[in-house]
Symmetry: C3
Subunit: 470 residues, 3 copies
């Protein structure tokens, strides 16, 4: 007989009864607040076309590298899980792929994926048995059936989820056609874009040359000239702002910044666009561009997000055969203190500029990021991110940053996800973990209950609205 | 109506009732023990002159970079908070500065500053409402009034606080006149000095040349000659010992040590004093001087404290306009294993030498510092320091060092503060956090209750007395 | 009157009553499972000869650097504790050494050594008073008396401890005579070896030349020729497999790997064996050999264990006078992301190869190791190791790795010890800490009770059997 699937209403709250009661009270007040998702990777096409999703595997498994990386680590082939390779779509039967996933569902015990998935299965699809070999087909049929219903189409779910705002991420070489379609569609959902120029800033990006060419075409600027290149950024930032964007996003290998004299910056750019650059040049150019982007943010008011520290495509074979974003990005040690100084020397004392810094290196929370954010007016701390976007990871984030940076230099939660269906689950986990942390402070006499209640609202809605200028 | 201000008598104890009861019992026995403060930055002039403090802002806010850095991070100007710049004192009205502080008091939620301040307000000034916009004037008047009373003058507070010993920190170019005045004053308070020679050891210190000149005048030695320079240190160490010092203190960018052959050391010194040094020379000279200081400690018995890992004056603009020590020192990654080896090769196996090592890089606690201190006879672990001198920081210190180094290679608490009024609050937080940690060990069957009681005394008074040779 | 010695039956379980009850239930089911010890350093001669141990000091204190390093750190001489030096055995009277140990037993409060020792004293020797100055002789006599009884000889204890399998560690220059003796003795205990070739792989190892010579003699290969050297490894790996080995073990300063073209590898080897190598060559050769070992593992199925990150023999004086393994190995910062890439580029996607990676740098758990092990099919995470093989260390391991790598990419517990008598205590601590962690997940609604029960079995027996191919 299959095991029941139920969600513990007190999940993620501390076990101590007194602390749990405090957490429950705090949570009750904020559980129903709207979802504000200022940073994520859902596909704008979903909301532009409102087309139904086809099947459970295509929606939930094949695009989610959080899931298939775990199965892959235990020897399951990506092709069998429905993951597309460079040669094209997987040849796997979606139902067979789903069964394979169900066979290995125990691998997710103790992981946030398990929390998110169970939440989606129970709350969204109303399933009451645990996923496993015996229930794989029941799940597949139930989900497939639901997806064919109008109330499971993207816009309907957006509304049902109580999403006040959802930001997607696009590159400067993107036409923003889907966002335009959403804006003119008459639908009231607020889906905005984010300016993520990595592909035209990182000479080591495999799409650099192609993206740069498109960048030039879209803007009508000579993007192989330093001034034209910067002007093209300004134009596209304006386009993005017109499509709702309030922020830029920069995923760099390191947090390095530079502030070169104009002549040197131009000479560096020339080496970059003529292909005569060294890895050190590439790093320096990315560094310089963070400062250029900050300068533009001072002018146009866009909030900057800096996401450093991922070694992208670590698995060479996988990258060759399956391409980017296949679960093989690995965090590495990341410096901020020396790396960010050139940018901070130039703009650090401005309070009209907001730079939100993220990390994949938790050792920098208490040592570097909280002290920096607790001093520089322009800096804010992004939430626990990616691998650390989990109950233990979010707890460590609060424990290691709050005492030095306070709550008010943090910016609320980012779901940072392409798994649209999991967005309510992810925000719910974040809200519960924050309430648990606040409850501990109250229980230990470090905070009053009414202050914790105020903070729970701030961490859920207040800080994100202000930090992202929404 | 303003919110009440009360201190939870069980604050910082674990919420679990059984563990809390153990913590409470442990704490009750040590709460009233004398305060021993072997490392701090209070102003000896206070105790020499016993002059009353002028106003709340000048006493509590303007000199405390822990406080104003948080407000600065949220866009409040330092000048408006009463902080002096290089051009002179702030032009802000003290009461207006205080109101600005009160307006932003919520920023400190969840920080140790909030714990310390509430303790001072409630216990010392008897205030029973929380600080905020509505109560700013009430606070200002109440504190200002108190400060004009004789029982709030420095010596009276020293006695009231139950301070058995308070160490200040002075440079070799300091005359120690205030300490002499205290010693001849007839007052029984024990205020001792600490030998902190950074300004005459670090060629990159902005006061290096001036401090060196004074150092030569005070000692009558030719401090531009290597032998004279070392002799000057010996003389001043003797002077400091005569003024009660039992310890030296070394705040270096890194923990690097060196043990050069005498000829090389002398040649290096010559480059340093003639201004023909590179940054690498400066680092090497600081490294060599740690070993020279250790050699002198072997001779004169002074305990060495090494505080590495702060990137000083990270904010260039602030340093230019406001000077040093303005809340812009940022921790950075710090190595000990390679860095301290030259010194340890020479003196590591001596048990007549005590070197207390601190860190701002918590990743070194379990990885480097506890293993080193749990082996080398000369080494002891300084307590959680500066940004980590907080409930979570102190808890992590115990959790990450005790299993490898034991309790007995730690040295009790340092308040390390210039905020004299907060000293009882800081020691109280440390005692509570230690009792909470011990209570957990007892509750989990890892320690007997009578052992925890012994340890609570050791962590409060025993270890500090022995480590600092008081 | 001496203090009683009792073991709390609920030790190491969380204090919260509900969580404790869950932990207790989980533990009850797995407490009696057999001990599987796939990695350790006990002496095969004990089980080959089954000779009685001579005295408490020689058995428990003098060989255990976990213990005497703590006493040494507080100024106790190693010679007085019975520790042999390069000049020969200690001159200390064993009973006097034991008394010295007892005098300092309080130093171990809060350490895992204390937990292990109390367990051994109470459970194995039936002692009911705490070790201390007053009880030193009682302990000495009681233990000495027990050791003279047949039921305290090595094989009897092996059986009494419920050990299903015990792996020792030998070098390629070892004859494996003791293992042969065990195999032909008729005794049913399963003691296997592990192939640890460091001494013939690390040119910086003090025994390199001698070990290499023996390696050549034992194998009959020309080990000064690259092909002969590799063939000698293949032969000895086959010998070790015949003596039961299923795994190799590699203790390198770093995790660096290399995959040189054959010609370069051979040229490097020539520099190594002719003594014309630089430190960089030594590092590169160790790196290359990890990849060569992985290639052989693909062929012969042996599991690889990589233990990087210890700075060996940090205390130069101690190394000179007392030799290796005297408690002066200090962890240092360790990279995996760049370091392991050459090996992973070649073999990372194979699921027929198992590489178990350990660390002494906890900052790499969540940042590097869990993401790597949660992706690459060949990788598994070794348990909390050495200094981190402790209640807090094991808890941090689970908290920082489980959310990204899951439980199923970990491999159960290693006691990694030469202290044979402490093996049941060490496994008991690991089981309790795992049950405590699982209980917290259940209590917080993150895992079902039946899943936790399954996982408790897996963490105790299932994962280790599969990972080590037992």
């Amino acid at each position: 007989m299959p095991h029941p699937l139920t969600l513990d209403p007190d999940r993620l709250f501390p076990a101590d009864p007194a602390t749990r009661a405090i957490a429950r009270t705090l949570y009750r007040e904020i559980a129903g607040l709207p979802i504000i998702s200022p940073h994520g990777h859902t596909d704008a096409a979903w909301f532009a076309t409102d087309a139904p999703w086809t099947d459970p595997t295509a929606l939930l498994l094949a695009p989610d590298h959080y899931l298939y990386r775990m199965l892959y680590s235990q020897g399951v082939s990506l092709d069998a899980l429905g993951v597309a390779s460079r040669r094209g779509p997987s040849s796997a039967d979606p139902r067979a792929a789903w069964r394979l996933f169900a066979d290995h569902y125990h691998l997710f015990r103790g992981t946030p994926s398990r929390l998110w998935l169970d939440h989606v299965f129970a709350e969204l699809f109303g399933i009451d048995v645990l996923l496993g070999p015996e229930t794989a087909d029941h799940y597949y049929d139930r989900i497939a059936d639901a997806l064919s219903q109008p109330e499971f189409r993207p816009r309907a779910l957006f509304d049902r989820f109580g999403i006040e705002l959802l930001a997607t991420t696009e590159g400067p070489h993107d036409t923003l056609a889907h966002h335009a379609a959403i804006q003119t569609s008459g639908w009231s959902g607020r889906v905005i874009t984010t300016y993520r120029p990595d592909a035209v800033i990182d000479p080591e990006h495999e799409d650099f040359a192609a993206a740069l060419a498109t960048f030039g075409q879209i803007t009508g600027e000579d993007v192989h000239d330093w001034r034209g290149y910067l002007e093209a950024h300004r134009k596209r930032r304006a386009d993005f702002r017109a499509a709702g964007a309030t922020a830029t996003d920069h995923g760099h290998p390191t947090a390095r910044t530079a502030d070169l004299p104009p002549g040197e910056a131009e000479a560096l750019f020339r080496r970059i666009v003529t292909g005569r650059w060294s890895p050190a040049d590439a790093e320096l150019f990315r560094a310089q561009m963070l400062t250029e982007m900050a300068a533009m943010s001072v002018d146009d008011g866009m909030v900057m997000q800096i996401h450093p520290g991922a070694f992208r495509n670590h698995n060479r074979w996988l990258h060759t055969h399956f391409g980017r974003d296949r679960g093989a990005d690995i965090p590495s040690r990341t410096d901020y203190v020396e790396a960010m100084r050139p940018l901070l020397d130039r703009f650090g004392n401005r309070s009209d500029l907001t730079i939100i810094v993220f990390t994949l290196d938790e050792s920098s929370y208490a040592r570097e990021l909280a002290p920096l954010a607790g001093h520089y007016p322009c800096l804010r701390l992004g939430p626990a991110w990616w691998f650390h976007d989990s109950p233990e990871g979010m707890r460590r984030f609060r424990e290691m940053t709050t005492e030095t940076a306070g709550f008010y230099n943090s910016v609320g939660f980012n779901d940072d996800t392409r798994a649209f269906l999991s967005i309510p689950a992810r925000h719910d986990v974040a809200r519960r973990v924050d309430c648990a942390f606040l409850a501990r402070l109250v229980g230990e006499g470090r905070l009053r209950d009414w202050e914790a209640a105020e903070l729970a609202h701030e961490l859920t809605n207040g800080l994100v609205r202000r930090a992202y200028r929404l």
